[in-house]
């Protein structure tokens, strides 16, 4: 009787959220697979086309392949900077440098700003008009013509420092928490053996925080493959072939060209790629787990 009452109690709490999740997440996701096999403009009746949308996606000259390239660029180029800086800052703060608490807050601060707000802020920084901070500085340094950093041909490179600025703090806090969990005794023993800071980092810190580093890399890869907001904002809702990522291309196909079947096929590809990339990251980073 008691168990049955408990089950009812649990079902009462779990039921509504599970129902909402099924209706608003699972069902549309399953439907997306169905739509991806149709030719549909979202207005009239859909026509079954089998895998034609997927064949068009991978055909030569398709916009999807360059979009994957842009996603990979936005994953790995800022990713290297983010991981290196986050590890460096976390390790420095962990070493009790002066002002560590202040740095922790200062570096984390950009992470509390929404992605859209960050992009709008950097649009102003890069602006070629009077408000542009960067072009203003360049002018003071004697550069006569403003540089159109956010012009389509340059935009991906312009996003790199923005991504590093906005994401480093989050990873720094993640890594710092992992470092602070490592018992101090290991470092004391290493110091007695005469190990330098670099050796301590390589032989103690890195192996003992490997799981967290792996999680961080998975976050970066998934975030890079889903990249949308900065491109959408900095391109004023109209990304071009030189800036489209998979997500912006999907949006453009569905909501600007009303090519719903093709657009949802892109979203299915995105799902499969994120799944594969996550599995690959976990596999590549797999090591023997160290218990302490």
């Amino acid at each position: 009787m008691k168990n049955r009452g408990q089950n009812v109690f649990i079902a009462t709490f779990l039921g509504p959220p599970l129902l909402l999740y099924a209706v608003f997440v699972l069902l549309p996701a399953v439907n997306a697979f169905r739509y991806s096999l149709t030719r549909w403009d979202g207005l009239g009746p859909a026509t079954w086309v089998g895998l034609a949308n997927f064949r068009a996606i991978v055909a030569s000259g398709s916009e999807f392949l360059p979009a994957i390239g842009h996603n990979l660029f936005l994953t790995f180029v800022p990713g290297v900077g983010i991981l290196s800086l986050a590890l460096f800052f976390a390790y420095s703060i962990h070493q009790r440098i002066r002002g560590g608490r202040l740095y922790r807050v200062a570096f984390f601060f950009p992470n509390v700003i929404s992605g859209v707000a960050v992009a709008l802020l950097w649009v102003l920084i890069y602006s070629t008009s009077d408000v542009g901070l960067l072009n203003g500085l360049l002018k003071l340094m004697g550069h006569k013509q403003p540089i159109p950093f956010t012009e389509s041909g340059r935009l991906l490179w312009a996003i790199v420092p923005m991504s590093i600025w906005s994401a480093t703090g989050f990873f720094m806090v993640l890594f710092l928490a992992a470092m602070e969990n490592i018992p101090e005794t290991y470092y004391e023993a290493a110091k007695l053996d005469g190990a330098s800071s670099a050796v301590q980092f390589r032989t103690i810190t890195l192996p003992l925080m490997w799981d967290v580093l792996t999680t961080g890399i998975v976050f970066l890869v998934v975030g890079g493959l889903k990249f949308f907001d900065a491109i959408y904002v900095m391109e004023n809702g109209r990304p071009s072939g030189s800036t489209h990522t998979m997500s912006t291309l999907m949006y453009s196909k569905v909501f600007q060209e009303y090519n719903v079947g093709y657009g949802t096929a892109i979203s299915v590809m995105l799902f499969l790629l994120v799944l594969a990339a996550t599995a690959a990251s976990l596999r590549l980073m797999r090591r023997e787990r160290l218990e302490y």
Binding site: R39, D41, G42, L43, G44, E63, Y126, S127, T128, S129, N135, Q145, P146, I147, P148, F149, T150, E151, S152, G153, E235, N236, G237, R238, S240, G241, S242, S252, F255, Q256, E257, Y258, N259
Partner: protein, 445 residues
């Protein structure tokens, strides 16, 4: 225990209230008729539309016009159109042709052929500028009406021209010589809305029109095979590229429309190609003493096109949805929106032109608008692109990218033309793309 018993009672009461609320529809006869109108809040804002809605309500007791606007109204409407719950009437960047072909729009002909407001001896159709209803006709019916009459012109500040001794150019070589002179005087010749490369399309099509007879110009509109490879189109593209590379304000390709137009209003760029919405869009930024005026795209020496034709026509289109709850009332509201009385207030409040014939007659209008009226009166005919509204994928995936590359100097004019021809070929082959019968050159009206 008492609390437990109270909870179901409370839930039941809340459910009863909710259900009661659901039965009170806003357009219930007891509450009068409600017409929902969604309007793009762009260069013209929506204050004028709201004022017309209030006047309509006063003259039609029992009718409420729920008019709202948003700069991204199209994004709000798309899901509503998909779930068959659209507003009654809208003006937004939706794919009008797709909506028409899918049977999602309501034909306006019954309203167009009914007596107009203010002049019952004429039908609504007869009160409009000839030709403005031709853009969205399908199977003999009209599915959209423009609320603005547009023209693509080059705007400048007369005061600045006087200060530097510059003259309004009549020919292309005078225009480029003027640009050189402006640069020598330390002023960027042209502001450009580079984040929206589509702004160059109207200028490029105007240059092309100056070079070729209308038969060739409209061949491109009809997506005739090889039309984009016309050597004169490549020449027009080269002229456009030279303008961009040599005379656009430095940094223009990274500027939004407002940023670049601000540069023009502040006098750092001398001219800007734009439609008639420019003044209203920049009214807060245009400084005192600014003498806004415009001239048409100059004729090209040796060109075979009509030198007095003007790129323009109906703009800011309104349409009624087939799934609207009140399509007839919505059509009637549109008729009122485009009555002579409303168009007078449109011209005076928004400083722009209305598609209602004679709407500026007897009105005192601003010098800037008078300048546009003079350009229109001096034109032999108007012509307008329909590639952008008909071929969405071509427009979004091919044209915008190719133009950005052409303007930034990343591709040659010949490669640009090839890309457009390839895009046009893809549209021709795509069975899902609606292609109207070739229209050729429309008759002069």
């Amino acid at each position: 225990m008492r609390l437990c018993r109270g909870v179901p009672l409370g839930l039941a009461a809340a459910a009863a209230l909710l259900l009661a609320g659901c039965t009170l529809r806003p357009d219930d006869p007891r509450a009068g008729v409600t017409v929902e109108a969604a309007v793009f809040e762009g260069g013209f804002g929506i204050e004028w539309h709201k004022s017309v809605a209030r006047r309509y309500e006063r003259s039609h007791p029992g009718v409420l016009v729920d008019l709202w606007g948003d700069p991204r109204v199209d994004e709000k409407l798309k899901p509503r159109v998909l779930r068959r719950d659209p507003p009654d009437v809208a003006s937004a960047s939706l794919p009008v042709w797709k909506l028409i072909v899918a049977g999602k729009l309501y034909p306006l002909d019954e309203a167009l052929d009914s007596p107009s407001y203010g002049n019952p001896s004429k039908t609504w159709r007869q009160t409009l500028v000839p030709g403005v209803l031709g853009d969205f006709r399908y199977k003999g019916k009209t599915y959209a009406v423009p609320s603005a009459l547009g023209a693509w012109v080059c705007w400048y500040d007369k005061r600045q021209f006087r200060k530097y001794g510059w003259s309004v150019p009549a020919t292309w070589s005078q225009f480029t010589a003027l640009c050189d002179k402006m640069k020598a005087d330390g002023v960027a010749p042209l502001a450009f809305q580079g984040k929206y490369p589509g702004y160059a399309w109207s200028t490029l099509l105007s240059i092309y029109q100056r070079l070729v007879p209308f038969e060739r110009w409209y061949a491109m509109q009809d997506l005739r095979p090889g039309a984009f490879l016309d050597p004169d189109f490549i020449r027009a593209s080269r002229m456009m590229q030279e303008l961009a590379v040599r005379h656009f304000q430095p940094g223009a390709m990274a500027m939004t429309h407002t940023e670049s137009q601000m540069e023009w209003a502040n006098g750092r760029a001398a001219m800007v190609f734009c439609g008639l919405w420019l003044k209203n869009e920049m009214k807060e930024a245009i400084p005192d003493g600014f003498e806004m005026a415009c001239f048409p795209v100059p004729m090209v020496e040796g060109g075979k096109g009509d030198p007095r034709a003007l790129y323009g026509g109906g703009a800011e289109n309104f349409y009624v949805f087939a799934d609207a709850k009140r399509p007839r009332e919505a059509s009637d509201f549109l008729k009122y929106l485009l009555s002579m009385e409303s168009s007078h207030s449109y011209v005076q409040r928004l400083d722009t032109l209305s598609p209602v014939a004679g709407s500026t007659d007897g009105l005192t209008i601003s010098p800037a608008l008078q300048s546009a009226v003079d350009v229109l009166r001096g034109s032999s005919r108007i012509f307008q692109d329909r590639i952008g509204s008909l071929y969405l994928e071509f427009n979004s995936s091919v044209l915008q990218d190719a133009q950005a590359d052409l303007l930034a100097g990343r591709c040659t004019p010949a490669a640009f033309a090839k890309r457009l021809e390839a895009g046009a070929e893809a549209a021709r082959r795509n069975p899902d793309v609606y292609k109207p019968a070739p229209m050729g050159v429309p008759a002069l009206q």
